[in-house]
């Protein structure tokens, strides 16, 4: 037999899963999963993000895939779209970097600047830093 307290626990635990099935306006984490993304290692990145979201118990987050973003050389690419904020694009992701993004950007709201793609005058600045390395 369940007590009222146990029911409340079931309610909380299940709501997170069930609630994902409704239309929401929440944070979206999008992983580029076209051939280029997968070849560059997008799948481990995706799994790491899902794992981190699950570990931190985040319920208002959608993890979605998308096709080729058009910057294949910068894959794996992860985009974080928070409601009411501009989209932030992260490039050359690894599972470890992705976990940091979930923790710092998604939860704490601090954009992880060092992984962000910077565009100035239509040119991707990150490209140059790579060449200079």
């Amino acid at each position: 037999m369940k007590t009222i307290k146990e029911l409340e626990e079931i309610r909380k635990k299940t709501l997170d899963v069930v609630n994902q099935r409704k239309d929401r306006t929440t944070t979206r984490i999008v992983v580029g999963m076209a051939t280029c993304g997968i070849a560059a290692g997008a799948r481990p990145v995706l799994l790491a993000i899902m794992d981190e979201v699950s570990k931190l118990g985040l319920s208002d987050v959608i993890v979605a895939q998308t096709g080729c973003i058009g910057l294949c050389r910068l894959e794996p690419i992860v985009e974080v779209i928070k409601p009411g904020e501009e989209k932030v694009t992260y490039i050359k992701m690894t599972p470890e970097k992705a976990r940091r993004i979930v923790k710092e950007h998604v939860v704490e709201g601090k954009v992880v600047d060092e992984y962000v793609m910077h565009v100035v005058d239509g040119k991707v600045l990150n490209d140059y830093s790579v060449q200079n390395d």
Partner: protein, 597 residues
């Protein structure tokens, strides 16, 4: 908590199940396994989404992609494209769900926009066989609330103040029913759920039971607490195997969690529920006949009073409510009577579920606030009449209701307005008819049904419906007279006044309402010997238009009874005595030279 990046909902209602949605569910799981992504994607079987016309339906979240008419062979592509590569498979998405290549939210579809879901709140969202998911959406919280914070009198008061009226047809105030039964003193009282949904074309209750069985169990326990009953029965048709099976699972789970049985949630309140299967007698949906049937007797009505509130099941005070009525109760308890009153109209609060059928684009299940007009339901939610045909009438209330004609389309739907139009709310069947439906034939169809389902106990119903049917058959065969129409009307009024139970008292409604709005069609059958809609076979004639006819003889070959005679390049003729009016010749004629009138 398990985190899934995507959820795939597959409709497990009867409609979609009959078009192989269970095969789709299995194949989908296999396909997902093949790609090794079974830990990322959750596949859930839910209750009815309502848009049965488009079944089997599969919805993928978080995108909210609404895939319709999915076939098992579509699945490899669907899984690979959408779930692996994250690209929506546009060719399978319901056309209304896409706008400028983007997915529209479900709530913005024409079909869902005007709906308001209270009774169907969990249908198509939760897995009906998983009690935890029901609990997640505040399931059993209302029961918790009444058992720990409210007295039985307070529960009755809230239900009474909500203005909830019986959703099974009559529209009797539910709170009043509960109050009358609560006042009775007895060693034992009973709560019954009437799930003997028998109207042709109605499937509201089935969908609630299939999609959200726990809401009914919870409401019955609340009712038990309110009136002082410790025992409940659900009388459900054996023809609803999926509903029966889900109820069984739900009762078992509720017992395991201690939400049914002794000392519920440690509060000292005990309540349990048993299932009783009906064998498809329409009359057993009538409350007194239903109780006879539960007691193990032949299902026949008994005169009222005494009402069930005083002397019901085994002569004990009994509350008997319909499935949809119960489904509203937990929401009323949690949100309050004022909230419920704010939906719908003054005299009919809340929402009503309708099963849309007949000549309508979006066949399916809809829930609307009371006061929505028939036009909104049929043309906005239902998508109008297919093939550009003209709307003629809508039949509400099944065999007990009547037909409502086009001039009343802007009537708001309420218990009392529908009765004023000569129909009734009924349990919520809504059958739409277009110009191709013959109203005399419709009346004949329903009379045939009630005559067949009459239990035979009282004379007006047993013999009266038979006589009415005979007159209607006479008219549809072109042998009727004007006196027959008067006789039919007189007989109808007398049966209405004298039959024992609701079945007989309402059986003449289809006749009376069609006589009221479509008397000209009756007269056309009787005086002109014509069926304006071209339905009544005996009144139809197929003829060959000589100057269009190319004398090819294809019609003569197509005729299965050899009624067409003639010579190629000369002349062909249809022998009316031999013709069986099958229409085969008209279909085959390449020159449209054969007409029906």
């Amino acid at each position: 908590m398990a985190f899934y990046r995507s959820q795939v909902l597959v409709c497990g209602g009867t409609g979609c199940t009959s078009s192989e949605s269970m095969v789709i569910l299995e194949n989908l799981k296999n396909e997902i396994k093949k790609h090794g992504i079974e830990n990322e994607i959750e596949v859930v079987r839910t209750g009815c989404f309502g848009l049965c016309e488009l079944g089997p339906i599969v919805i993928v979240y978080p995108e909210g992609a609404f895939y319709s008419k999915v076939k098992p062979e579509d699945l490899p592509e669907l899984v690979e494209e959408h779930l692996v590569k994250g690209r929506i498979l546009k060719r399978l998405v319901y056309h209304e769900a896409m706008e400028d290549d983007r997915i529209k939210s479900l709530n913005n579809f024409g079909f869902y926009k005007k709906q308001y879901r209270v009774a169907l709140r969990n249908c198509g969202v939760i897995d009906p066989e998983n009690i935890d998911e029901y609990i997640a959406f505040d399931g059993y919280k209302a029961l918790e609330k009444v058992l720990t914070e409210m007295t039985p009198e307070e529960v009755v008061k809230v239900v009474k103040e909500s203005g909830l009226r019986g959703r099974g047809g009559g529209g009797f105030p539910t709170g009043l029913k509960w109050e009358l039964t609560a006042k009775e003193k007895a060693d034992q009282k009973y709560i019954i759920c009437n799930a003997d949904e028998g109207d042709p074309g109605a499937f509201m209750d089935r969908s609630v039971l299939e999609g959200d069985p726990h809401s009914v169990l919870e409401a019955m326990a609340i009712g038990g607490y309110a009136i002082g009953a410790s025992k409940g029965f659900i009388y459900v048709r054996a023809e609803y195997p999926i509903a029966v099976q889900r109820l069984e699972v739900a009762i078992k789970q509720a017992r395991e969690y201690g939400l049914l049985g002794d000392d519920i949630l440690g509060t000292g309140f005990s309540f349990d529920i048993e299932l009783r299967l009906g064998s498809g007698a329409f009359v057993c949906g009538e409350e007194t006949a239903l109780m006879q049937s539960i007691e193990g007797r032949r299902g026949m009505p008994v005169p009222k009073p005494p009402f069930p509130a005083q002397s019901g099941l085994w002569k004990k005070p009994t509350v008997i409510n319909n499935v949809e009525t119960y489904a509203n109760i937990p929401a009323i308890i949690l949100n309050g009577s004022q909230w419920f009153r704010s939906i719908g109209t003054e005299k009919s609060s809340g929402t009503k579920v309708f099963a849309l059928g007949g000549k309508i684009t979006n066949t399916g299940l809809v829930e609307i606030p009371m006061g929505t007009t028939l036009r909104e339901i049929i043309f906005e939610i239902g998508g109008g009449i297919p093939k550009g045909k003209k709307f003629k009438a809508v039949q509400t209330g099944g065999p007990s209701g009547g037909c409502i004609a086009a001039q009343h389309l802007d009537t708001p739907i309420e218990y009392d307005t529908l009765i004023a139009l000569g129909s009734m709310m009924g349990s919520g069947g809504m059958i739409v008819m277009d110009e191709d439906n013959c109203m005399v034939d419709v009346a004949r169809f329903f009379l045939d049904f009630t005559r067949d389902e009459s239990c035979g106990k009282c004379t007006p119903c047993r013999i009266g419906t038979k006589r009415m049917l005979e007159i209607l058959e006479k008219i549809t065969q072109g042998k009727g007279t004007l006196e027959d129409i008067d006789k039919l009307e007189e007989l109808a009024k007398e049966i209405k006044a004298s039959a024992l139970c609701g079945l007989g008292q309402t059986a003449p409604n289809p006749v009376l309402s069609t006589l009221k709005y479509f008397r000209d069609e009756y007269i056309a059958h009787v005086v002109d010997k014509k069926c304006p809609a071209g339905v009544c076979k005996a009144l139809m004639r197929y003829t060959i238009v000589d100057n269009v006819c190319k004398k090819c003889g294809i019609c003569a070959k197509a005729c299965p009874v050899g009624a067409i005679t003639g010579k190629v390049k000369e002349h062909f003729e249809i022998n009316q005595d031999k013709c069986v009016k099958c229409g085969a010749c008209m279909e085959k004629c390449p020159f449209k030279a054969i007409i029906k009138k």
